[in-house]
């Protein structure tokens, strides 16, 4: 129980701080420090639980190794974003549409509540609480997307709120159907929303209701995760949000939706409905990777490019979920979060200097900013799954899992679209980096904490590199729990 309580103080403090001390210029720095404390608290509370098989349920909140992994990952991602946000907002104040202190205060208020909502989704064992948490993440992250107050960010926010709410509403219908199914099964005559209870009595649930529930839940949480037919909000929301916000969205929100998807498909598998998972979630996941790769071919805005790359990685993780390989899913989630956050932060601070998002105008960055551009290129390579980085191993594990289960169309679809995605990303990023300088001399004015603009991405990329090379089976057991 202490583990859950340990997570609450820091974000609530930041929210309170952001609400009342709006005039103080020191809110970002304090937020970063508090997030540091939050990381320490999460590590102290949750690290020992990692890798242990036991699962303890406390009024609808499950404490197990799966939840622990994603709590730690979300905390690290949000902490990285907050540390980078300090320097980011310093730079933002110098640009022409500088945000007011009130806006920055709002950003921190909503972001901290957003973090708590994400904890609720990851940790909840009760389907109802998970739904409420997920709906809360949508509503709380809407102001983050609307940070720039421009017409484009307004459009992105409107579409984000509307599509996600509709999707999640379908999700709730699925929850209701599962609840009804649990009432009709003999043992649970009263009916229960607890996943643990449902999984133990999975066999007695009426198969038709379970299938219907799974389909609606897949639609709900698939919209939040950004699977193929339901992905339309993802590129708009991620490209219009400020860099720290899109880093949090990409790095942790998608993971929460995917954890929910994992829990549902695990339940369906327990109820003997392996067939419906293979027929709905797996094709959707592989289609996501293929269409994301195709989308990447013609992108001309760097943040949309990264958004579609997130969509592609979501597809890979969803394939892992469809196949039932937790270690593949966990490894890919950790690597993708690290690399994608690093790349979004780097892209964000490059855009601040060059002032434009359009790839055609960004030319010759390698000559203008050799250090940062090389780091960005390495990050993009890491996200695209090139070997020295961890995402290659994760994709390899998922592919070998699919191959061993004799699913050639999954392997073929994935391998080809991963290659196409790599080529598309390489084309776009080389267009930006190579060639002689066309952009006016980027305003590399020195601001406070500028070192953190590069430090945070470097640490994250090193983390992913370590996972790529130093991954003995002991670390794998820690992350994965074998399967």
């Amino acid at each position: 129980m202490t583990a859950i309580v340990a997570l609450l103080p820091a974000p609530l403090l930041i929210a309170a701080l952001a609400l009342f001390a709006t005039r103080l210029r020191v809110v970002p720095v304090l937020a970063a420090i508090l997030m540091g404390i939050q990381c320490a608290a999460a590590a102290w509370a949750w690290f020992p639980i990692l890798g242990t098989p036991r699962r303890q349920i406390v009024e609808g909140i499950g404490i197990d190794s799966h939840g622990a992994l994603f709590v730690l990952l979300t905390t690290i991602v949000v902490a990285a974003a907050f540390v980078h946000a300090v320097a980011f907002f310093e730079r933002e104040k110098l640009s022409e549409h500088a945000p007011s202190h009130r806006q920055i205060g709002q950003f921190y208020f909503f972001a901290s509540l957003f973090l708590i909502a994400m904890y609720v989704v990851i940790l909840s064992d009760n389907l109802g609480y998970m739904w409420i948490g997920m709906e809360a993440t949508t509503l709380l992250s809407a102001p983050l997307v609307y940070f720039h107050r421009s017409s484009r960010s307004l459009e992105a926010t409107w579409k984000y709120v509307l599509i996600c709410s509709v999707g999640i509403a379908f999700g709730f219908f699925g929850t209701a159907v599962l609840y009804a199914a649990s009432q009709q099964s003999g043992a649970l005559h009263v009916g229960s929303l607890s996943l643990a209870a449902l999984t133990t009595h999975a066999r007695q649930l009426p198969p038709g209701m379970v299938r219907l529930g799974f389909v609606f839940l897949l639609l709900g949480y698939g919209t939040k995760a950004g699977l193929f037919p339901l992905h339309n909000w993802l590129p708009d929301a991620h490209s219009e949000a400020p860099a720290p916000a899109s880093a949090i969205l990409s790095g942790s929100l998608l993971n929460c939706a995917l954890v929910a998807l994992w829990r549902i498909s695990d339940l369906a598998r327990a109820a003997g409905q392996q067939q419906v998972v293979r027929a709905t979630l797996l094709p959707m996941a592989v289609l996501t990777v293929i269409t994301a790769a195709l989308f990447l071919l013609r992108q001309r805005d760097i943040k949309r490019l990264l958004a579609y790359s997130s969509m592609e990685n979501v597809g890979i993780m969803a394939t892992a979920i469809g196949l039932g390989s937790w270690s593949g899913f966990a490894l890919q989630a950790v690597n993708h979060s690290f690399c994608k956050v690093a790349v979004f932060l780097l892209a964000g601070n490059l855009l601040q200097q060059c002032g434009t998002k359009n790839i055609r105008d960004l030319r010759g960055l390698l000559t203008a900013q050799p250090g940062r551009t090389l780091l960005l290129m390495l990050g993009i390579a890491a996200v695209a799954g090139t070997p020295p980085f961890g995402s290659f191993l994760a994709e390899w594990r998922i592919l070998s899992f699919a191959a061993d289960k004799h699913m050639p169309w999954v392997v073929a679809g994935l391998v080809l679209s991963l290659a196409m995605a790599f080529i598309a990303l390489a084309m776009q990023s080389l267009d930006m980096a190579l060639g002689n300088k066309t952009i006016k001399d980027p305003t590399n004015v020195r601001t406070r904490f500028a070192v953190s603009l590069v430090l945070v991405p470097v640490i994250l990329l090193l983390g992913s590199l370590a996972l790529g090379v130093l991954l003995p089976s002991s670390v794998l057991a820690l992350l994965g729990g074998g399967r």
Partner: protein
Amino acid sequence: MTPQPHLESNLLYALAICWLVAPGVAVFQKANVDRLLGVILAVGSLILLAMGVAAFAYATTNIALPSPFSFAGIPVAFRFDPLAGLFLCVIAVVTGLTVPYLRGYCSHLTDKADMRIFWTALSALLISMPLVALSANALTFLVAWEAMSLTSAMLIATDHSSHSTRRATIVYLSATRLATAFLASGFLWAHALTASWTFADWHLSGTQALGPGVLVLIGLAVKAGSWPFHIWLPIAHPAAPAPVSALMSGVMVKVAIAAIVRLFVLSPAFNHPVFGIVILTIGAISSVWGILFALIQNDLKRLLAYSTVENVGIILMGVGASSLAAHAGLIVAARIALAASLLHVINHAAFKSGLFLGAGTIDMGTGTRNIELLGGLSKRMKATCACFTLAGAAICGLPPLNGFASEWLLYQGFLGASSGAHTPIERFSFMLLIGILALVGALAMACFVKAIGVAFLGRPRTKAAENAHEGDRGMVASQAAFTVTCIVLGLIPPVLLAVLNPIARVAYPGADSVAAAWTLPTPAMLVTLAVTLLAGAAWMARTKATMPERRYITWECGFGALGPRAQVNGTSFVQPIAHTFSVVFQYAESVSIEGESRRLFPDKVTATSTTEPVLETRLYQPVTSMFGWLGDQILHLQEGSIHAYLLTMLITLLILLAIGGAIQ
């Protein structure tokens, strides 16, 4: 000899440390450090040579890195066996001999590119290439392979101000990434069948080997640059700086061939007669196709890149013939063909690197690589001309040099296979291959006579060619070193064959050594050549004093002193051959005459010849534009109207419900 795993692993660590230091020095050391980096690379190549020799000397040893280094449970394992040893030595020698060239060439590069990235990428490449040759399991192979591709792409993009270099980098990256995709799916399939990642445990044969084998073969063929997948090679190699293209053509292409030999011939992981036929056919086609396209190139480096495609074809012909002969039970012919292809790997690494360095010196000396703008360079660049001519003679396979040794052995392999084969079709096809090899040899001679003649001999065609300047001492030393290696390798084939014998014995166990197949009277021939040359030279020198020599203009049939434009240039030299083979590259000539009315004195006559790379325009371009079109079509899904998005959600709901309902 007792296995010395710790020696080899220590050498492996030393190599890694040495070549990790180089980028460190490059990045932080501000002053001009090419000299220091050159020394580091030289030391690195020496260590690599020691590793290669150790791999030969001691029995085959497997080394896995200690526990923290592992790829998700799969160990990072390396295997030191004679085949890997051979390729390590080839990499070491080529790197070692290119090092002096680097210092001279880099002064030319510093204004155009960021040398820190160049040196880091170069040392990373020189670590990853041996690792690919050494890797023992699929995952280490893929990681090293992708690292090799990425670092070589960074090297190609060194001088990235020109558009063609950027296009070359992207084409190269896409080609290698698709190769990795094919390789990955092949390895996954093989793992599904054998439940192990190490190559040594894979012994698939019969129809089981077909699936994974074809995928792996396609992946390796793309990187080796053989026929249907070679289109990236003539785009990527010329764009790289000369020492890098020398390394890529001379060595990196061979690393893919090493993998083909390891997986399809030595204790074959994929054992099926059809692979021998497939490798033989793509080898034959790529040798003819490569040399025909090399013939019509006027950019020196593109010509050499196509000639690499041709030589890769010859090597693959040897590998294919040896695996086919082995399946037909002709062990002697199989062993000779395998030894021939491995010998050609060594020879090609020697003369191709020398030729590319020569092209680099010309590019630096005159500022252009188009031989139509050169001519008469031998007067100003004597050393480069001599080295280039001798290396050119070696690549055409002319006897006293090393090219002839491996081609002769290949002929012996084909002859042995054709006389021993059982069915008439096999006998006839092997004899046909002898014809193809002879045709390729004749075309190679025409191509390199054109390259050497038009570039070096005759009168300078432009100002740039007129005041060309020779490369500095280091560059000429490198080229001379490669040329000397060609000459020496030409003299000692029996020794080389004795060195290659352990590999042949691993592939086809048997008593007699491959060296016995070398029945050529090389010493007698050399004596006759030497005696005649020395006697003739002595006689001419003696009579030179008594006989005056007159220098006069070249014979111009009374038309008056013909300018340098009257000389035959590249296109017109190959016009007769191109006309005979016009169907291969859609060769079309057109002559336009202005002032036709005055029959005898037209104002202007322009003759143009056009060729079309058929493979690119008919096959690859439509496929790539189809993907582009797909990319455009899919954008319609994201047109921005929220109503469309909600409608898609509804349709998805209905489809999922239908699927859910259908599953009873």
